[in-house]
Amino acid sequence: MHRGVEEELLKAIKEGLADALVEAKVWRPQRIEVRVKAEKLIEAARFLRDKLGFDHIAAVTGVDYPEKRMIEVIYHVWSTGRMVMLALKTEASRDKPSLPSLVNVWEGALYHERETHEMLGVNFEGHPNLSLLLLPEDWDWSSKGYPLRKDFVLKEE
């Protein structure tokens, strides 16, 4: 049953996103991956939410790839109607990482984006409040760095 859903979703995504799309594929039943360009992120997100029914945001993850000089940000979104999880991937350059914020599309991404910002340094433009969430109040990024980046080494005794 689900095999059919992913294929037709993939077709709809390829038609709908057209030039914003970099790559789209199916991992396994109930998992789809879509990679879009950073500039078209908000339109792609709106298309996925309104036309294809991906309404339930699960997570926002940032992965640091220092050798590729980019930080990949992945939005995992679940569709309650079609029971499929979509991984929406974009890239931000590692030197001044900046992406448009998807808080207006999926409001549940509020704290997730804030955490990704403080841990990896990705600036989400349009986010209402990008202050420190989990780190201590006196954390200074310029002296201590961003914790989840690969150059932040945990000192273990």
Binding site: T80, M85, G108, H112, L133, P147, E156
Partner: protein
């Protein structure tokens, strides 16, 4: 006529009888809370970063500490599953059943703890004592199974770590039937208690459309009328062979969130009984290759508090490249400031506790 409201800032800080290790910053005008801002991070241990420095097997107890004291199986089960998905391992049948039994027992214990907290947030000491007392029965069972009451570390990559001891089945059935009778007592004592209903009905109403928009998961979502449960939407282990229901409620308030936990305890008892009856013989662990391939995987598990997600990016080495832990309380956190706007101060603990936010789960 613009009159400026003189709001007092009150910090329900990390040391407070009801918030656990959570800090809220409230703006109060008289008795009405205008705005609530959660200030989390008091128990942040950086487990996602620590996980990158440990091998996959060494990570099992580390990752479990995200939330071990309430729901160890729910927290941990997704981690071996994400590795099994990546490596393409098939877990033996007996191990699947054992995982289901332990997970559902842990769900019962966690829901009993949640009901205890709901009771004490309204000042109902008696229910606190009763539910914590009954939770001991389940913890004794888990101790029989793993040697640990709370930090079980029961599943491992490829199966489970221990097999069922001799007298487990009879003990479990005895205790579960006692628990079913106790649920009747809870219903009469708390759920039909007029004062409890006065405190919790109509408080913190979360509409289904808001719940989906905000990304709420778990019993909160089901109490808000949305039929979404990972055990039915994306069945894992042997849940597709189990006969159970997903209760969904209609009033969307704090009373429903307390009620649905009691209903889910009933369903969990059903599942454990079926699983104990159908338990097959066989090995409890599968052989696993030494290293996972390059790739990524996302696994979802229905923990007691909601959907627990693990997103693993592996680069072929023995340590994870990136492990993202999507805990249900972190996803439910956004409901708290959303619901606590213009409510009386006395409702804030009730709303907070009914959402079942565990500070450890939120902070990781």
């Amino acid at each position: 006529m613009g009159s400026k409201v003189e709001a007092m800032t009150l910090s329900m800080g990390p040391q407070h009888p009801i918030t656990g290790h959570f800090r809220f910053i409230l703006e109060i005008d008289g008795d009405i809370v205008l705005k609530l801002e959660p200030d989390i991070g008091y128990t942040h241990r950086g487990i996602e970063k620590v996980a990158e420095y440990r091998t996959y097997i060494q990570n099992l107890p580390v990752v479990e500490r995200v939330n071990s004291y309430c729901d160890s199986m729910g927290t941990l089960l997704g981690y071996p599953r994400v590795l099994e998905e990546l490596m393409g391992i098939e877990v033996p049948e007996r191990a699947k059943y054992l995982r289901v039994i332990a997970a559902e027992l842990n769900r019962i214990a966690s829901h009993l703890y949640a009901i205890c907290l709901v009771a004490i947030s309204t000042g109902f000491e008696t229910m606190l004592m009763w539910t914590i007392n009954d939770r001991e029965l389940i913890l004794d069972l888990l101790e029989m199974l793993t040697g640990q009451r709370i930090t079980l570390t029961y599943p491992t990559v490829g199966g489970v770590r221990y097999d069922l001891p001799q007298a487990f089945k009879e003990e479990a059935l005895k205790r579960l039937s006692y628990l079913e009778r106790r649920l009747e007592d809870y219903r009469k004592m708390m759920l039909e208690n007029h004062t409890f209903k006065m405190r919790t009905q109509g408080v913190g109403v979360l509409k289904p459309s808001d719940a989906i928009r905000l990304g709420i998961v778990g019993p909160n979502l089901r109490a808000s009328g949305v039929k979404a449960d990972v055990r039915k939407d994306e069945p894992y282990e042997v849940y597709d062979r189990m006969d159970f229901e997903i209760p969904v409620l209609k009033n969307w308030d704090c009373y429903d969130r307390a009620l649905i936990r009691a209903l889910e305890i009933e369903q969990s008892i059903r599942i454990v009984k079926q699983a104990l009856k159908e338990l097959p013989e066989g090995p409890i662990r599968a052989r696993i290759p030494p290293l996972p391939p390059k790739g990524e995987a996302y696994s979802r598990v229905e923990a007691a508090r909601g959907e627990f997600g693990y997103y693993l990016v592996s680069d072929g080495k023995d340590k994870p490249y990136r492990l993202r832990i999507v805990s249900p309380s972190f996803r439910n956190l956004i409901a708290l400031p959303f619901l606590c706007r213009n409510v009386p101060l006395a409702d804030v603990p009730i709303i907070y506790i009914s959402l079942d936010l565990i500070p450890l789960d939120v902070d990781r």
